[in-house]
């Protein structure tokens, strides 16, 4: 919940406002990118995710570092469980 999970934006869903498919270590889920409205997300961007919402854009190198820190803290499995648990079907509800 408190440590951010890094992911890569795969695509923005055309039919829903601010919903994007993100990929984290091969797992794809939908997240909300509405909090990035000052610098909108686009495919290929790396973002930090908290509880299903992209909170900031980061570099690819930073994403790799963040994944490594999660692993070193023993939080990587919990992080993947969180990502796999996102059930957002699109449209925010």
């Amino acid at each position: 919940m408190c440590l951010a999970i890094p992911g890569r934006i795969v695509e923005l869903l055309p039919d829903f406002e601010n919903i994007a498919t993100v990929e984290v270590s091969g797992v794809r889920r939908k997240i909300d990118v509405g909090l990035l409205e000052d610098d909108p997300a686009k495919p290929g961007d790396w973002v930090l995710i908290h509880v299903g919402f992209a909170m900031s854009k980061i570099s690819e190198a930073e994403a790799t570092d963040q994944m490594r820190i999660l692993a070193m803290l023993g939080e990587d499995e919990a992080a993947m469980k969180e990502i796999e648990g996102y059930g957002l079907g699109g449209g925010g509800a």
């Binding site: 408190c2 951010a4 909170m55 900031s56 980061i58 930073e62 790799t64 059930g87 925010g92």
Partner: protein
């Protein structure tokens, strides 16, 4: 699954640790507080204390939202499950946190409809899928999770969803720092500022700590090198007689924070006049409730909330540990009555609480010194 398991720039870690030793004045005792529970976890996991000279002490702050939530609020939230219409939703972190009559998981075992969600958006989705039920989301967290709750509330309104509410327990980090500084037994020289909270609030809200209180603060990343660099930056400030806000985590934290997130929070939340923190008592303007304009989604408006208050067990000395007066192992209950399996005090409840982190890691040989051979030459 495993990611690459090695430290970034081990030689730089060694050099930074050496520089810290060189700059630390042996005649002075340095007490630095890391505010964020993620930092506490990292410090214990990496055994950073073993790389620091003995006169630099790291004090673990109040930045674990599960730990600081009073038991009465858990009881209040769980009381809503008496209404059979209600689906109680919360993050997984909350599920084992004990209330007076059991944790959310134990309520579930007794038949209450308690479900884990990984995002507030999923609680809203559940409400949409169950129009004949009412979905209550038990919201917790600092500014890292509050914007997500805020955006979910705005979506709920836009979609005209009526069977969804939020039991708001979001807290804010600045008033907790103020309470620590105002405490008469406060003994902190400088602060390691939270990393991910600062991606939302930016660095500006810390300026009064430097300007008015004369305490340096460095916003820090989570890697061993980040934390050591931040400690070095604090040492330099103290040695040079400076007190400033510095940003070690520039690669992620913008000075101005995330304006969209702050805007969503301002639209949907109001400050509570005061809120109780476990181990610290009541702190004024330290928590959020739903804005009057969002009262229809406020679980505290929709349900009879008993407003239960449970006194922290007297023998547990969480407040003293939080303020840095005692170290975790100096509490009378530590490791005996109070363990991660049977937490009595707030700081044993979550892996990010300082007592649980100490319990889980302190008895092991420090990870960093074991994994990083050059460090042994220190």
């Amino acid at each position: 699954m495993k990611f690459v398991d090695e430290f970034r720039q081990p030689e730089l870690i060694t050099k930074t640790a050496q520089e810290i030793r060189r700059l630390a004045n042996p005649g002075h005792r340095y007490r630095f507080m890391e505010v964020c529970g993620g930092h506490t976890h990292a410090i214990y996991r990496f055994g950073l204390n073993d790389l620091l000279p003995p006169n630099i002490e790291l004090i673990h702050g109040p930045g674990c939202p599960v730990c600081v939530l009073p038991m009465g609020r858990i009881d209040d939230g769980l009381s809503m499950t008496e209404n059979e219409e209600v689906i109680f939703t919360a993050f997984g972190d909350m599920m084992r946190v004990p209330g007076t009559l059991g944790s959310p998981l134990e309520y579930k075992a007794r038949g209450a409809d308690v479900r884990i969600v990984y995002s507030p958006a999923d609680a809203l989705k559940l409400a949409k899928a169950n129009p004949d039920r009412h979905v209550m989301f038990f919201a917790i967290g600092f500014e890292t999770t509050a914007p997500s709750t805020a955006l979910t509330l705005m979506r709920a309104r836009a979609l005209g969803i009526r069977n969804f509410s939020v039991f708001c327990n979001h807290v804010t980090i600045i008033p907790a720092i103020r309470a620590i500084l105002d405490s008469p037994d406060m003994r902190i020289d400088a602060f390691i500022g939270p990393g991910h909270v600062s991606t939302v609030i930016g660095c500006r809200p810390y300026e009064w700590i430097a300007r008015n209180e004369g305490k340096p603060i460095v916003v820090s990343g989570f890697e061993p090198l980040d934390l050591l660099e931040s400690i070095l930056m604090l040492l330099r400030q103290l040695n040079e007689g400076r007190a400033e806000v510095e940003n070690q985590y520039k690669r992620v934290v913008p000075w101005e924070g995330n304006r969209a997130a702050l805007k969503a929070m301002a639209e949907t939340f109001q400050l509570r006049p005061y809120f109780e923190w476990r181990g610290m008592g009541f702190i004024s303007q330290s928590a959020l409730r739903l804005h009057d304009n969002y009262a229809e989604f406020d679980a505290e408006e929709r349900f009879q909330v008993p407003g239960i208050r449970v006194t922290d067990p007297k023998a547990a000395q969480c407040g003293e540990v939080l303020k840095g007066v005692l170290r975790p192992e100096q509490c009378k209950l530590f490791g005996n009555e109070c363990t991660p399996e049977h937490p009595i005090g707030a700081l044993m409840v979550s892996a990010e609480g300082s007592c649980a982190a100490y319990y889980n890691y302190a008895h092991r040989k420090a990870a960093l010194t074991e994994l990083m051979m050059p460090a042994r030459a220190l």
